[in-house]
């Protein structure tokens, strides 16, 4: 047996070096990742980053130029969509306008040659799960956007597919409905134990729904991991900036007897000698320090050193639970701070000098 066909138990899908060329343009560049059974994975990235192309390659609508796609251990590269046993919810749902809701949901069962009585029973059960059993006899155009989406979801799940694909699931909904449907889709897919791959450009949606997030940029898979991993340990400035808010500080590395310091104009970040990152950072010259706004403490100017910086308050915004400060540093770069130290900050005002401090555990150093 081909050794590379073997995947660890519990792997639903595996992409191996999948590339897609459109003429000289690399829409996908050597994408490899695994999807575990029952997992909710979101492919996140700006438009043109390759996330939708990846989804269409998994569905079988486009054939990769290179690489392989394994589903449940079987090589599915080159297999047409109708033989992949994949469910898909399209961006604007692609419900069949001339069929009732029930007929729409039953269609995947119809194509699988299941008897009418059986398929109607199973479709009704699925409609029950998405809460639309009372709408079975209606036509798609007689339903609201949120209801249409649930019909589309039912149609994608009814035949217990190996994988369910969601293409920009919230794109066609208004903002209010989005939050509600995110939770609902998450609950429904968990309830039926589906393995899901979703595509979005909305980082909040990705954080809410996903077990893991795959971040795409320029046709490459930039990083894949749990939302927490991506937030705590971004591997690049792009990921740090894309997931959550981040201050990116570029500085020079200087070795010290008791550790290593990254310095810029008006700030410094020090790693003690015992820090596991210190050695790698010491070997580099220029690095980028990622500082999350909520990890920075606003202190009196000059009161702290080591892991600290200084600047001038440019804006002070009160947001109820927290203050947001925009601080301009000596080199002109701006730092965002979110602080819940309401009492401490209330007395500060725009134009004041301010000190900033953080713990070495809260910084991520990129480029080492």
């Amino acid at each position: 047996m081909n050794a590379s066909l073997q995947t660890t138990a519990g792997t639903a899908m595996k992409l191996e070096g999948v590339s897609k060329l459109y003429g000289p343009v690399k829409a996908l560049d050597n994408i490899s990742f695994e999807l575990r059974k029952g997992e909710f994975l979101t492919m996140l990235g700006p438009s043109g980053s390759g996330k939708t192309t990846s989804l269409r390659a998994i569905a079988g609508f486009i054939q990769p130029t290179a690489g392989r796609l394994l589903i449940d251990g079987r090589d599915m590269t080159g297999v047409p969509p109708q033989k992949r046993n994949i469910g898909m919810m399209f961006q604007d749902y692609a419900l069949f306008p001339h069929m009732t809701v029930l007929e729409n949901v039953a269609y995947p069962l119809e194509t699988r040659g299941i008897r009418r009585a059986e398929r109607e029973k199973r479709s009704m059960e699925m409609l029950e799960i998405v809460g639309l059993a009372h709408c079975a006899k209606r036509y798609p155009k007689e339903m609201s956007g949120g209801q249409q989406q649930r019909v589309a979801l039912a149609r994608a799940l009814v035949f217990k597919p190996d994988i369910v694909l969601l293409d920009e699931p919230m794109a066609a909904l208004d903002k209010k409905l989005r939050g509600q449907m995110q939770i609902e889709i998450m609950h429904i897919t968990r309830q039926v134990g589906a393995t899901v791959v979703s595509v979005t450009h909305d980082q909040e949606e990705a954080l809410v729904m996903s077990d893991r997030i795959a971040i795409f940029k320029d046709g490459c898979l930039e990083q894949i991991g749990s939302p927490n991993e991506l937030y705590q340990q971004p591997c690049s400035e792009f990921v740090a900036d894309f997931i959550g808010e981040a201050n990116l500080l570029r500085g020079k590395v200087r070795a010290m007897p008791d550790g290593v310091v990254v310095e810029g104009n008006g700030w410094g970040a020090r790693l003690p000698a015992g820090d596991p990152r210190a050695q790698a950072v010491a070997a580099a010259q220029n690095v980028c320090v990622v500082l999350r706004p909520e990890r920075i403490r606003a202190v009196e100017a000059g009161s702290e050193s080591g892991n600290a910086g200084e600047g001038m308050i440019e804006d002070k915004i009160y947001l109820g639970v927290e203050y947001r400060l925009v601080v301009r540093m000596n080199d002109g770069s701006k730092i965002n701070i979110r602080s819940r130290d309401i009492a401490g900050i209330a007395g500060m005002k725009a134009g004041d000098r301010i000190g900033m401090a953080w713990s070495p555990d809260d910084i991520v150093i990129i480029g080492a």
Binding site: A59, G60, F61, P80, P81, Q82, K83, R84, N85, I86, G87, M88, F90, D92, A94, L95, F96, P97, H98, T100, Y107, P108, E110, T111, R112, K137, R138, Y139, R155, F159, L165
Partner: protein, 295 residues
């Protein structure tokens, strides 16, 4: 006494409402006048001629003379076959136009419209050149050795039908194209990811959605086919005579204006009936869709 006031509080005379011709009317007045003078009036005149002194003798004659009934029946039979063939040929053509990409759309549209710029008479004559015993098709078949003697193509129902299909094709393609262009091809993607082969998806999704185009196409082709005159006259034998030729014969040769007019009225009424039947079929199809709704 009621005194109405306008929004500035000034009294306004409440004159009794008189009918006013909307200004836009004057824009369409020339067209209406033209139609009234050269279409409605002659049509009424035609009906009057067919009923001399209120007598329905010409209509009795039409419905009791076998040759008239045979020509009417033949006209409907030929038109029906021509309609089916035309729509069947137009369907894939329109599909290619709608979904084949810009280059194909351009080529197919030009190919479709060029014959429009050539007169009907000329197109029918070209078919004589192609179909006659010493014509292009027979010469080619003999040269390739497929046949020894020329096959009789012209002066047959086949010749009439092929000429009619050719002339009706653009009329059938355009309504089909208009409907197909609006069909979202992602529905076919959705169908395939649901597990359907292309053929299954076509039968269950694409074709039902294209049905309005098929109906529009068929109505247009059929009603036009019923009134064909030059093409059957040039490509058919006297046995393939259609009703329009017979009407012309009554006016030009027999000089029996009354009978000619009655035949024309019969054609008109039957066309309207056919039109209504198509409409009824379409409504029935829509109703069948709705009745499942249970609302």
């Amino acid at each position: 006494m009621t005194v109405s006031t306008n929004d500035r509080g000034l009294p306004v005379a409440t004159a009794p409402r008189t009918f006013r011709v909307p200004p836009a009317f004057w824009l369409i007045a020339p067209a209406i006048l033209f139609l009234a003078l050269f279409f409605v009036f002659p049509l009424l005149k035609l009906v009057a001629i067919s009923l001399p002194g209120g007598s329905i003798e010409y209509y009795e004659q039409i419905f009791t003379t076998p040759v008239f009934l045979r020509v009417i029946g033949e006209t409907f039979r030929v038109s029906l076959i021509v309609t089916v063939v035309t729509v069947a040929v137009a369907y894939p053509y329109a599909y290619a136009m709608a979904h084949g990409g810009r280059a194909i759309l351009l080529v197919l549209t030009i190919a479709l419209l060029i014959p429009f710029w050539v007169s009907l008479l000329l197109r029918s004559f070209s078919w004589i050149v192609l179909l006659q015993n010493s014509g292009l098709i027979n010469d080619f078949l003999i040269a390739t050795g497929l046949i020894e003697k020329p096959v009789r193509l012209i002066r047959t129902p086949f010749g009439v039908m092929i000429g009619m299909v050719h002339i009706l094709l653009p009329y059938a393609v355009l309504p089909l194209y208009t409907v197909m262009k609006k069909i979202d091809l992602r529905l076919m993607e959705a169908s395939s990811i649901c597990g359907a082969s292309w053929l299954k998806g076509f039968a269950r999704i694409y074709f039902p959605l294209s049905l309005p185009g098929v109906m529009a196409s068929a109505i247009l082709a059929f009603t036009l086919a019923l009134g064909f005159y030059i093409t059957p006259a040039l490509l058919g034998s006297p046995r393939d005579m259609m009703i329009a030729q017979m009407i012309a014969g009554q006016f030009n040769e027999q000089l029996n204006f009354g009978l000619g007019a009655a035949l024309a009225v019969v054609l008109m009424v039957l066309t309207a009936v056919a039109f209504g039947l198509f409409g009824a079929v379409r409504t029935a199809l829509q109703l069948r869709g709705r009745s499942k709704d249970g609302m």
